[in-house]
């Protein structure tokens, strides 16, 4: 090579071409298909896998804890690991209606390493479409389809203080049970105070277990049960969890991270209380609560639509189908009711998994969490799980064919 002398022989280029040929000729003929990174990935989350119910523990009169292990014949070495606080998306088929539900894993990651299980703690809602099904029909030996673990409410030492204040309501205690078990297993080095609100004393989930665990590490774990409608015998704090109770039991706010998990009503109540405490945004992590029980309770919801029903023209690839839908149910629920379904995870508008195309029509987006990307808003995409009909719609949904559902018999 002679850059300024400009020799033009391209000798080196020809040499490199020969070099390439030589490498080709001498290379191994065995296809290189081992992918350790994919294997690592499968040890951390999966799109669809099957579990078997090995035990059912009654937690309270309205909740049950299901212990789940890898279903036999499933080609996995071990359950995917997770970070305490994450959830599974459970996929069920109730008489042809395929739905998903997010449930926090109430067991700890260390339980997988030691005994190979997850636990889900499920509360029946009186009008819950699915939880009733779970309660009555999930039996030991049943197979359950899930995806995950997913979710963002976990302790991250890069972001969070290692002094955590948990605020839990009802079944919102589940991620905290996971965190507490992980602290006891010495896998998380945290100080955690949980303020746990229940209605009656006998609604308190894991009362005994959590008090025992806290007793093992009193410097690190504190669980304060607060009942909103206690009986006369109740000696603990009562009422709703408010700024005063938080200050009383959690001590100074400064330098602590708050994790909140509970029903929608609790978030609404806490919003004002938290403002009073002046906690910076970055110090608060909220778990999603799934679809709201009643969208008309959202002050921004245009109530004049509440009794309406509309049609949705649904396209999946070239296929077209028209379904009826009621205005106060999310588009996702309407699709599921019609037996169509879209795969979903968080059901709260955040994760984007149900992303679909709105071809025409108007929707109300539950604005609490609108996890849509800016580009999706611009080009007409929406999240059916957090969208409600304000007119007839034409939509295109992604196909939903790979997910296996566990039939409930």
């Amino acid at each position: 090579m002679e850059v300024y002398g400009r020799s033009k022989d391209m000798a080196q280029a020809s040499k490199m071409q020969r070099e390439r040929k030589k490498r080709w000729k001498n290379a191994s003929p065995v296809p290189d298909i081992e992918d350790p990174i994919k294997e690592l990935s499968m040890g951390l989350h999966l799109k669809n896998f099957q579990l078997i119910i090995t035990d059912i523990l009654d937690a309270t009169k309205t909740t049950k804890t299901y212990r789940l292990k890898l279903a036999p014949n499933f080609e996995l070495k071990r359950l995917p690991l997770f970070r305490a606080g994450q959830y599974l998306s459970v996929k069920v088929n109730v008489d042809g209606v395929k739905v998903t539900r997010p449930y926090s894993i109430s067991s700890a990651p260390s339980d997988i390493l030691e005994d190979g299980f997850y636990e889900l703690t499920i509360k029946i809602k009186d009008d819950g479409f699915l939880s009733t099904e779970f309660f009555e029909k999930w039996k030991t030996g049943n197979i359950v389809s899930v995806s995950g673990p997913h979710g963002n409410m976990y302790f991250d030492d890069l972001r969070d203080s290692n002094e955590i204040v948990g605020i839990a309501g009802g079944s919102g205690i589940t991620p905290f049970r996971s965190i507490i078990r992980e602290i006891v297993a010495q896998k998380l080095d945290l100080k955690l105070t949980v303020l746990y609100g229940s209605r009656h004393e006998d609604d308190i989930i894991f009362a005994e277990e959590l008090s025992n665990l806290a007793g093992k590490l009193p410097d690190k774990i504190k669980v304060v049960n607060i009942c909103s409608e206690p009986s006369e015998n109740w000696s603990g704090p009562s009422g709703f969890i408010n700024a005063e109770l938080i200050k009383k039991y959690a001590g100074p706010i400064e330098g602590k991270t708050f994790f909140i998990c509970g029903p929608q009503a609790m978030y609404e109540f806490l919003e004002k209380e938290i403002q009073n405490l002046n906690i910076p945004n970055r110090r608060i992590r909220r778990e999603l609560y799934g679809q709201p029980d009643n969208i008309t309770m959202n002050p921004k919801y245009p109530v004049e639509f509440k009794d309406k029903t509309f049609n949705i023209i649904v396209r999946i690839g070239n296929k077209i189908e028209t379904i009826k839908a009621s205005a106060t149910e999310s588009v996702l629920v309407s699709l599921e009711r019609a037996g169509i379904g879209v795969d979903s995870q968080c059901r709260s508008g955040e994760c984007g998994f149900c992303r679909s195309l709105l071809i025409s029509g108007d929707i109300f987006v539950n604005n609490e969490i609108d996890g849509r990307r800016a580009g999706d808003k611009k080009f007409g995409f929406f999240h059916p799980c957090s969208s409600y009909l304000l007119s007839d719609l034409e939509i295109k949904i992604p196909s939903f064919k790979f997910v296996k559902f566990s039939p409930i018999k």
Partner: protein, 526 residues
Amino acid sequence: MSSTIHKSSSFDSSYDVVVIGAGLGGLGAALNLALSQKSVLLLEQHNLPGGFASSFVRGRFEFEISLHEMCAVGPPEGPLKGPIRYILHDESSVDVEFVPVPEAYHLILTGKEHKVNVKLPFGVENFIDTVCSAVPETPRESLVKYFDLCRECSEALTFVARSKGNIDYKILMAKYASFLTTSGYSAAEVTNKFGFPKKTLDLLYPYSCYMGLPASRLDFTIWASLLHLYITQGAYIPKGTSHQMCAAIDARIRELGGQTEYNNRVQSILVENNKVIGVETDDGEKIKTNYVITNCSPHLVYGKLISPANAVPEEAYKLNNSRRLGVSAFVVYMGLDASPKDLNLESYGYFISPHMDTEKINKSMLQCENMPDLTASICLNNAIPNCSPPGTTILSITTAFGIDIWKNITPETYFATKNKLARQMIEQVSKALDSPISEHIEEIEVATPQTFSRYTGSFKGGVYGYDLDPWDSLVIRSQVKNKEEFFKGLEFAGGFAAMGHGYNSSLLSGRQAARSVLWKMKKEGG
């Protein structure tokens, strides 16, 4: 209740072309085919387009996943307007807007030997001025000549790319003599001829990190072209993240009559007598076509997708094995609750390292006990001020690892490993910029090779195609292309195709694959 809907077909029984994967390569291909009025089906396994060119939302922030800066966009009008702008705007009327990146890069070297804190501007003259004033012993004339050589190589490369394997050597010799002279050498071999002091090289080489190879292995022509294009045309990013750009391309493909389908994984490419006859999706649906453009790597195509598998000739496996898989990435994404000013973040893009020895940097990417030496940080607000709410900042810190380096990480060690590395990277940047980053983290997400593998299915989590060594350079790839086609009707697009990785190359390669298919269809009288 009807469940029948899942049984009939979502697809036509056949298409002119099926494109596998909606990364930039696949999008570029489908766009051009739709524009040419061919019936085209684009199948993507994920639920959105873009592959690596995407975004995700956490709390109040939308994070750009991979893009630092796009090459070959150039200003909206004038001689410097680049091919990407031409293809997306003029040729295809895609609704995308580009925003200029304010400076080439802000280089901070923290080592004892050569401490540097310089912002390098776009524009050859400005760039040279800045280098000469930061390192006065730089031989200015040589640097001017060096950039001239880079220009020639870049123009020659365009000429070679346009000639589709039938290169006119007479023109090449007459017009691009220095290109011929330097072709086949590495960046280091050619650059060293210019006798620049080491300190000058420190300022010159940062962009080479985007290629994932040390100067001694990186093909000079590619390096020259990259440097020339960035410094003359400037760099751009799409408004509203890469996802918005990809959503715009997707929308345009549909508008032009193309079909794009998400959550549809292609399980097999069906072949008969060394000819493509169709594809099969994950749930066993078969779709007829004579042409497949694949956005996934030859490693995946020959290793997993071709069916029957025994139709793959040994030569194909050997070819794959002879090439080197490029690096994978590691990124820390942060939404911070303070303004860029309060965080001392004045520039858009920073390269930070103790030194700029590309050999040493590359070696540091071959372990994951500790962070590699070099990080590239992007403060998105400094190009798009309103990309996050007032008083907040989006900052990402990126580094790279060799393709096999994460293979011994297990699920048990995964979270601790990634947080340890992320912490070191945040500390490096905080210290270099005197920025109180860790006091302001509202959202943080760390992507590792595992994350990239999870979302795009890329082989071993690689993000960078095949390494661009001098023996596997663009020129050589374009010369041997015809000899390396094992199946009639199969074309590659994207980072693993002949043009190499990067946003611009991936998009352009998609278009090139589409043109190649169109040409073949025409030849067959289709």
